[in-house]
Symmetry: C2
Subunit: 337 residues, 2 copies
């Protein structure tokens, strides 16, 4: 079976390539192609099993109908959720999503972005890795349409879709306080990410507003490269000081899972000995013996917003949107009453 292009159809029917193109693009009417020829062409196309070469089409049209998506790590629940949402939304508009995972690595991120640009994606949706500000600035200079999601750099003015991280952390902390907790530990990554700092802020603001004096050692900043070990140590410190904390609030699902693993190993009962609350979702949260109370991000809405913002950007050019979404606090049984 040889490749069949417009040329083959044209030869088969005995007309010019142009006519075939017109007909197969639904321009038969406007170009006044005779019904007879049009039908012949359509029939031939089906018979020969014609598949338009999108590569050639893209080259001519200067549009690929493709958007590039770079997530931070395909193993995050956030990534799969947002990918699903974005793919579905893109498909509606007849766009394809080219997808890559930076694994939180700066170079991989840059590389992926470059690969995608070279493939002439019409725009990008990015979950930037740490320290990728230069890449982002480069995109702006090159006038490539893109929108950030989940994370943003406050020093760079970009279109972005984020969670209202401060509010989420604030509300969750208040929830813990209302449950009677007085000493709440917060586990976050040691990071330069603004969105994670916002979570710290929300947590601390809530304590303040509840007239609880924040003790610096309640805020556990964990190095991601050594997560499990540091988590163990932090949890130990938290539980065994002379004023042990009575609740652990985790800034991400990955941190929570690390933490829960260790609590399990140590046979520490949740919520009897310690209450647990976490950002994000996880299959494991539901299945934990005390389903974990968590902050669910509206991934679908966020994905939709990212895609529609990107489309605006692609079509009408210059816009400036910073959209922030609220999370839901999903109550489980991991916080003592």
């Amino acid at each position: 079976m040889k490749k069949v292009g417009l040329k083959e159809i044209a030869e088969y029917v005995g007309v010019s390539i142009a006519l075939v193109s017109y007909v197969l693009n639904g321009q038969a009417e406007i170009k006044q192609v005779s019904k007879v020829t049009a039908d012949q062409i359509k029939k031939a196309a089906k018979q020969l099993n014609y598949r338009p070469n999108q590569i050639a089409k893209s080259l001519k049209m200067l549009k690929t109908h493709t958007i590039g998506l770079v997530v931070a790590d395909i193993n995050y629940r956030f990534s799969t959720g947002i990918t699903r949402a974005i793919e579905a939304e893109a498909k509606n508009a007849n766009y394809t999503v080219l997808f890559g995972s930076s694994n939180e690595n700066e170079e991989t991120f840059a590389e992926l972005v470059n690969v995608l640009i070279n493939r002439q994606v019409d725009g990008l949706i990015l979950v930037p890795a740490e320290n990728t500000q230069e890449q982002i600035k480069m995109l702006q200079k090159a006038e490539i349409p893109f929108v950030l999601i989940d994370r943003n750099f406050p020093e760079i003015k970009t279109n972005h879709i984020t969670l209202d991280n401060r509010k989420a952390a604030y509300d969750a902390t208040i929830h813990l306080v209302k449950q009677g907790h007085k000493r709440i530990a917060f586990f976050n990554y040691k990071t330069t990410f603004n969105h994670l700092h916002d979570r710290n802020r929300g947590y601390q603001d809530a304590l303040k507003d509840s007239n609880i004096v924040f003790k610096p050692h309640w805020l556990k900043e964990i190095n991601s490269v050594n997560r499990q070990a540091e988590m163990q140590q932090s949890l130990n410190n938290m539980l065994n000081g002379d004023e042990p904390c009575d609740a652990a609030f985790f800034a991400t699902d990955t941190l929570a899972i690390s933490g829960l693993k260790y609590l399990n190993k140590q046979k520490i009962q949740v919520p009897q000995q310690v209450s647990v609350l976490s950002f994000d979702e996880s299959e494991a949260f539901e299945l934990f013996y005390s389903p974990v109370t968590h902050l669910r991000q509206p991934l679908q809405k966020m994905g939709q917003a990212a895609v529609s913002t990107l489309f605006e950007l692609i079509n009408h050019n210059k816009i400036n949107k910073q959209i922030s979404f609220q999370s839901d606090l999903v109550i489980g049984q991991s916080c003592r009453e």
Copy 2:
């Protein structure tokens, strides 16, 4: 910032497009381009921030250096694992992966395959959805290089990478028997998938070889559209008959999670009241109060095998490989001793 192509560089330096192409493709030596011009060109390319248009390149070369991957559902642990492995392997060879998820839907699968072909991927790695035999045959007729992974259709001779599902189920069942279980229920999807049937076979063969007479009602076939409800009913039947089963063996991670959720809700103790064993992996398995004994698939090896098989196919054409991998039984604490 306007787009810069070979033309712009050529004009800038004052040479022909051909020279620029030669130099930037590392053909300066063999085409005897003078050092001076070559350096000028390289410098200009960098200065103007030239990005080769892969679309144009692909059109000319009839190669896109892209492989298409269609997984069954991006939310499966299998999918993310295999995607990671495939992406890493492809990247080594300077290939990009175009990725899509069929959500186990026949039409979506066909659509995705078509989109990928139209984008002229050099080859496909597919986790076929149910009843997609015709699509697969079409690919063969069209002589498009592809390899199936995870699942295959025995009636169609294809290249495929699978798990030795019969053996895996067999070994796991034997494990349960050795732990003293006499009445082992097996939960599988009601499906036409061969790879899942193999799991049934392995389970039954193991019972036979252990001189346990298999009772048909031990084999629970669950309709995926109504999973949670059917799972509840099946588990109830299994636990509450006059001869209740003492072990539940799940054919997939998704089934196990459904099952565990219900066991949790009913406060049925694992493994005291019932032992649990499952195919696949899950964050939740580790975190369950009795970490779930499970059959881990060698995703990385499988991904590598898929990519390298595909590359052989793309390069040296006709080959015929059916590779089957062994799984590891990861012992947890969900099976009573």
